[in-house]
C-alpha cells in the first residue's frame, strides 16, 4: 500500500486521498445497512466511527498538503521529502487541483464525471466536516445507546457524511447537487428518526418541503449554468469565458439569474429568511443530529456554495448585496426570536440561523475568508453547545425547558464548563472563537466599498449584543442559581419506540409488574445500564463528555488561528484561504490557468483592532445584562417582560412567520387542493370511467373467443399463420 502511493506526485496523492474520503463512510453505510440489524446491533457505531476516522485522517493529510509553511518537519516525514521541499508544498500548487476518477453518466456531449476539486476552501470544509463528525459519532455512541434502531441512526449518519464530503469535494455542479440532495435526504431521515412522534414526522416533512424550494432553484441554476457555459465543471465555469467582459455582456440576464437562483438554493439549505422556518423544527431529531447536521455542517453548505461560486457573484453585485442584506436581517430576526424562547435546543437553533446570517453578511460584503472562518469556528462552538444541551437533555429525562431547571452546575460540572466555553464563544467574549471570526466579518462589512456595508455592520453589532444576552440568559438560567431539577431528571427519556424496545426484554417486563407506576421508565432506564441516582453527577459516560472536552478546547483555540500562524500579520486562516478567489480587493492573477479578476475592492473605515474592541465591549455588556436579569434579580426579568408584553408575544411567536406561511401559503394551497379535488371528481366520473368501461366492453365482445380449449387456440394460430403466408404470396408481391 505504502509502496503503491510512492509512485505518485504529491498532487496526485492529494487527489487520491480526496477521492477516498467519501468512500470510507460509504463503506460504513453499506456494512451497517447490511449487517446492522442482525449482526452488529449495539456495535453498529464501530464501522461508522472507523470509517469517519479514516476519512478524517485523509482530510488532515490534505490539510497538510495545502497548508503553506507550517508543520514542515511532519510533512517531510509523512511524504518522504526534505524539509526544504516541504516548505514549498502548497505554495507551489496552483489555486486548485482537480481530477476525474470516473464518468458518472454521459449523454451525447454532456458528461458528468466523478471528480474532485481541491483548493483550500474544499480542504478546510472537508477537514472540519470529518473532524466534527468523528467527535459527534463518538458522542452519539454514548447518547443513543440502547435506542431502538441504533444501527439505523449510524447508517443515516454515515450516509450524511458521505453526501457531505461529496458535496464539498465535487468538481462539478451536478455532483455538488448529488451531495446536496444526499445531505437533504439524510437530514430528512434523521429529523424524522423518532417517526412514531407526530411532531418529528411533521418537522421532517417541513424540512424536506422547504428545502424543495431551494433545491429547485439550485437545479434551475445548474441548467442555466450549462446553457451559458456549456459545462458544469468548476474550472471551466469560473476560469473560462466568465472572465471576458463581452461574454458577460452577451449573457447579462443569465449573469443575474444564475447567482440569484444559487442564492435561493443556498438560503433554503442554510435556513435564511424566508426559508429558515424548517431549522428550528428540525430540532425534533436526536441532539447529535442537531449538532452535526443542523448546526455544524449541513447548514453551512449554502455558505460553501456561495463562497465557491463567488466568481459568479462578484460579477453581479446587486445579488451579492442582497445576500448580505438578507443574511443580516436573518441574523437580527433570529437573534431576537432566540431571546424569548424557552426550549434550550430551540434557542441554539435560532442562534444557528442567526450565526448563518452573519456568514451570509460576510459573503455579501465579499469577505469570503471571514465567512468561512466563522463557519469553521461556529462548527466547533455550536456543536459544543448542542452536545452539552444534549447531555442536559439526557440527564433531565428529555426535559429542555429552561424555566423548569436551574443550578445544574452542581450536578453536571464538566457539562457546565463546556457549555460555558461554548456560550463565551457564541457571545463573542474576547479570546474565544466566535469573537475573532464574528469581528472579522463585522470589520469587513464596515470597510466594504459598498455604502450599505457599514449599515449591515451596525445591525450586526446590535445583533452581537442580543446574541451575548440570549446566550447567557440560557446559561445563567440553566446552570447557575439555586438547584432546581425537573420531575423527569435522572430518568431516561421514555422511548417513542415503546413497543419494540420493551418487546425485546421480558425479564424487565416481569420485574416492572411488581414496582411503582414509574416502573416502566425505570425498567427501561435500567435496561440501558446508566441509571443515575439523584444525588450524583449527571455528566454521562466518557464517550459523551470526552468529545465535549475536545470541542471545548477547540472552541477556545481555533479563534486564535485568525490572529496567528499565517504569513506576515495575517492569521493562519487568512493565509490558508488567500488563494481562494472569494475576497474583495484581491486582483487575482497568480498562476495558470489564467487566474481570476474579482472586481470588488475594499476601503479602510475602521481598523480591525477597533472592531475587536467594539465587539468585545458589546459582548461583555450583553453578558452583564443577562447576568443581572437572569441570575442576580430574576424577578426583574418578569417585570420587564410584562412591561413589554406585546413585543415579547411577538417574539415568542417567532415573528408570526409560521402563521403567515400558514395563512398565505398553506391555507390557499389547501383550498386549491379541495377545489382541484372537486374537478378531479368530475374527471374521474366521466372521462376516467369511460376509459375504464371501454376495455370492459371490448372484453365482453371478445370474451367468447377465450374458450379455454387448447384446440381453438391452435386453430387460431395456424389459420393466422396461413393467412399471413397467403397475404405475403398474393398481396405483397
Amino acid at each position: 500500500m505504502f509502496q503503491f502511493f510512492q509512485q505518485f506526485t504529491l498532487d496526485q496523492k492529494a487527489e487520491l486521498f480526496a477521492g477516498m474520503i467519501p468512500l470510507f463512510p460509504l463503506m460504513a453505510l453499506v456494512i451497517i445497512a447490511l449487517f446492522g440489524g442482525k449482526v452488529l446491533k449495539g456495535r453498529a457505531h464501530v464501522p461508522a466511527i472507523i470509517g469517519i476516522a479514516c476519512s478524517f485522517f485523509l482530510a488532515l493529510l490534505l490539510l497538510m498538503i495545502f497548508d503553506v509553511g507550517q508543520f514542515n518537519s511532519i510533512k517531510a516525514a509523512l511524504f518522504h521529502i526534505t524539509t526544504a521541499q516541504a516548505n514549498q508544498i502548497g505554495a507551489l500548487n496552483p489555486e486548485f487541483l482537480q481530477m476525474k476518477f470516473a464518468t458518472w453518466f454521459s449523454a451525447g456531449g454532456f458528461r458528468v464525471p466523478f471528480g474532485v476539486y481541491l483548493d483550500p476552501l474544499s480542504v478546510l470544509f472537508v477537514s472540519f466536516v470529518t473532524g466534527i463528525s468523528l467527535l459527534i459519532f463518538i458522542y452519539s455512541s454514548g447518547y443513543m445507546e440502547g435506542d431502538y434502531g441504533y444501527f439505523r441512526f449510524f447508517a443515516y449518519l454515515s450516509m450524511f457524511v458521505t453526501a457531505m464530503t461529496i458535496l464539498v469535494l465535487a468538481n462539478n455542479f451536478l455532483l455538488v447537487y448529488l451531495g446536496w440532495e444526499g445531505v437533504g435526504l439524510a437530514s430528512y431521515l434523521l429529523v424524522g428518526y423518532y417517526y412514531p412522534k407526530r411532531s418529528a414526522r411533521d418537522a421532517a416533512t417541513k424540512a424536506f418541503i422547504v428545502n424543495r424550494i431551494g433545491d429547485t432553484c439550485f437545479a434551475i441554476a445548474i441548467f442555466m449554468i450549462y446553457l451559458t457555459f456549456h459545462s458544469l465543471n468548476f474550472a471551466n465555469v469560473f476560469y473560462g469565458p466568465l472572465q471576458s467582459a463581452s461574454f458577460r455582456a452577451a449573457h447579462s440576464s443569465m449573469m443575474f439569474w444564475i447567482p440569484l437562483l444559487l442564492m435561493f438554493g443556498a438560503f433554503a439549505k442554510s435556513a435564511q429568511f424566508p426559508l429558515h422556518v424548517w431549522l428550528p423544527d428540525a430540532m425534533e431529531g436526536p441532539t447529535p443530529v442537531s449538532a452535526l447536521i443542523h448546526a455544524a455542517t449541513m447548514v453551512t453548505a449554502g455558505v460553501y456554495l456561495i463562497a465557491r461560486c463567488m466568481p459568479i457573484f462578484m460579477h453581479d453585485l446587486p445579488v451579492l448585496h442582497l445576500v448580505g442584506i438578507i443574511g443580516t436581517f436573518t441574523a437580527f430576526m433570529a437573534a431576537t426570536i432566540a431571546m424569548c424562547q424557552y426550549d434550550l435546543k430551540r434557542i441554539w437553533a435560532y442562534s444557528t440561523v442567526s450565526q448563518l446570517g452573519y456568514m451570509f453578511m460576510g459573503l455579501g460584503v465579499a469577505a469570503g475568508s471571514a465567512a468561512v472562518f466563522h463557519v469553521f469556528t461556529h462548527a466547533f462552538f455550536k456543536a459544543l453547545l448542542f452536545l452539552s444541551s444534549g447531555s442536559v437533555m439526557h440527564a433531565m429525562g428529555g426535559e429542555l425547558d429552561i424555566r423548569k431547571m436551574s443550578g445544574l452546575r452542581k450536578r453536571m460540572p464538566i457539562t457546565t464548563i463546556c457549555l460555558l466555553i461554548g456560550a463565551l464563544s457564541l457571545a463573542g467574549f474576547p479570546g474565544w472563537a466566535g469573537f475573532f471570526s464574528k469581528d472579522e466579518i463585522l470589520s469587513a462589512a464596515m470597510n466594504s466599498v459598498w455604502s450599505g456595508g457599514p449599515w449591515l455592520a451596525a445591525i450586526g453589532l446590535l445583533t452581537a449584543l442580543i446574541t451575548a444576552y440570549y446566550t447567557f440568559r440560557a446559561f445563567f438560567r440553566v446552570f447557575m442559581g439555586d438547584l432546581i431539577l425537573p420531575q423527569t431528571a435522572g430518568l431516561h427519556e421514555p422511548s417513542v419506540f415503546a413497543l419494540p424496545a420493551q418487546a425485546g426484554d421480558e425479564s424487565h417486563a416481569v420485574h416492572d409488574s411488581h414496582s411503582a407506576p414509574e416502573a416502566g421508565q425505570h425498567g427501561h432506564d435500567a435496561h440501558h445500564g446508566h441509571d443515575q441516582p439523584r444525588n450524583t453527577s449527571f455528566d454521562g459516560p466518557i464517550t459523551m463528555w470526552g468529545p465535549l472536552v475536545i470541542l471545548a478546547v477547540g472552541a477556545t483555540l481555533v479563534g486564535w488561528l485568525g490572529v496567528f500562524g499565517g504569513h506576515g500579520d495575517q492569521g493562519w486562516i487568512q493565509s490558508f484561504l488567500a488563494r481562494v478567489p472569494m475576497n474583495a480587493g484581491l486582483h487575482y492573477v497568480p498562476t495558470p490557468p489564467g487566474g481570476l479578476f474579482l472586481p470588488v475592492a475594499s476601503v479602510d473605515r475602521i481598523s480591525p483592532a477597533m472592531g475587536m474592541v467594539f465587539g468585545g465591549i458589546l459582548a461583555v455588556v450583553g453578558i452583564l445584562i443577562a447576568w443581572y436579569f437572569h441570575l442576580v434579580n430574576r424577578h426583574a426579568a418578569e417585570v420587564v417582560k410584562s412591561a413589554m408584553r406585546p413585543l415579547v408575544t411577538f417574539l415568542e411567536n417567532k415573528w408570526y412567520i409560521d402563521e403567515i406561511y400558514h395563512y398565505c401559503l398553506v391555507m390557499p394551497l389547501w383550498y386549491l387542493g379541495r377545489a382541484l379535488y372537486g374537478v378531479d371528481h368530475v374527471v374521474d366520473g366521466i372521462v376516467v370511467n369511460f376509459f375504464g368501461y371501454f376495455p370492459q366492453l371490448v372484453g365482453w365482445v371478445l370474451k367468447p373467443t377465450e374458450s379455454g380449449r387448447l384446440r381453438y387456440y391452435a386453430i387460431g394460430m395456424v389459420s393466422g399463420l396461413a393467412l399471413v403466408i397467403l397475404g405475403v404470396l398474393y398481396l405483397l408481391r
Binding site: 399463420l721 396461413a722 403466408i725
Partner: protein
C-alpha cells in the same frame, strides 16, 4: 394457382376428414379410398410439375425408395391421427418412424436414422405405450369413454391445417424453380466428397455446437427430475398447485 395441386390437397383434406374417428364407421373406408386417390393425384402432379419446372433435370428423380417410404410415412401418419384406439396409433407411429428413418438413410444421414429408431421407436414410444396402458379407463368406465371414438371439430381442424398445407405447397412448388440459394457450384463435388457420415456430424457437434450440446444434456437432466417430481403421487408440487389427489373415502 396450381389447380391440380389444389385438387390433390383438397382430396387429402376430404380423405383425412372422413377418416377421423366418428360414429359412422363406413365413412372411414370411403375416406381411405379418397386418400389413395389424393396420393395418386399428388404423384401425377409431381411428375408433371418436375417436367415443366425442371425440364433439364427430369431424369434426376428421387428414385423408387423415396416414393415407397413417403407413401408408408404418410399412410401411417394418417393412421396415427385417425385410429380410434391409442395403442394402434402408437404402433402406426412406429411404422412412420421406421419409414422416416429409411428416408434419412436415402438422405445419407445414417446416424440420425439409427438414432431416430432408437429414441423414437425405442424410448419415446415405449413411454407412450406405458402411459396409454396406465391411464386408460378399464371395464365399465371404458364403455362410457368416447373421447377416442369421436373426434372434436374435425372439419375445422382439417380445413385450417390443409389451408396451411395448401399455402406452403403452393409456395414450395411455384417458387422452388427460382427459389433456393443454390449450393456453391464451384467445388461442390469436392465438398461433397468430404461431406457426409458420422465424422462430419461429430465434428460439427463437438466444435461448433459444444455449448448447446452440453445445455441439451442439462435440459435432459432437468426434464428427468421434473418428470419424476410431476408424476409422483401427492408430490409437494401438485399440492402446491392445489392439485393433490382427491382424498378417497
Amino acid at each position: 394457382m396450381d389447380y391440380p395441386l389444389i385438387i390433390a390437397t383438397a382430396c387429402g383434406a376430404i380423405a383425412l376428414y372422413l377418416m377421423m374417428p366418428r360414429a359412422q364407421g363406413w365413412l372411414v373406408k370411403l375416406g381411405a379410398l379418397i386418400g389413395v386417390l389424393a396420393l395418386a393425384s399428388g404423384l401425377s402432379y409431381l411428375t408433371h410439375w418436375a417436367s415443366v419446372a425442371f425440364p433439364a433435370q427430369h431424369a434426376a428423380g428421387p428414385g423408387v425408395f423415396f416414393y415407397a417410404f413417403a407413401l408408408i410415412a404418410i399412410a401411417s401418419a394418417a393412421g396415427v391421427v385417425c385410429h380410434p384406439k391409442p395403442i394402434y396409433s402408437a404402433l402406426y407411429f412406429v411404422l412412420m418412424t421406421l419409414a422416416i428413418a429409411g428416408l434419412f438413410l436415402l438422405l445419407m444421414a445414417e446416424f440420425i436414422a439409427v438414432v431416430l429408431i432408437i429414441i423414437y421407436a425405442g424410448a419415446i414410444l415405449v413411454t407412450y405405450v406405458f402411459v396409454i396402458m396406465l391411464a386408460s379407463p378399464t371395464g365399465v368406465a371404458a364403455a362410457a369413454v368416447d373421447y377416442d371414438r369421436i373426434s372434436a371439430d374435425p372439419l375445422v381442424a382439417v380445413l385450417v391445417s390443409f389451408l396451411l398445407l395448401g399455402t406452403v405447397l403452393e409456395t414450395l412448388f411455384t417458387h422452388a424453380p427460382h427459389g433456393f440459394i443454390a449450393p456453391v457450384a464451384a467445388g461442390a463435388a469436392a465438398h461433397a466428397a468430404h461431406w457426409g457420415g458420422l465424422a462430419a456430424l461429430g465434428k460439427n457437434l463437438y466444435s461448433r455446437y459444444t455449448l448447446p450440446l452440453e445445455l441439451a444434456g442439462v435440459l435432459m437432466t432437468i426434464s428427468l427430475v421434473g418428470a419424476v417430481v410431476i408424476a409422483r403421487k401427492n408430490s409437494p408440487h401438485t399440492q402446491m398447485l392445489g392439485l393433490g389427489d382427491v382424498p378417497t373415502e
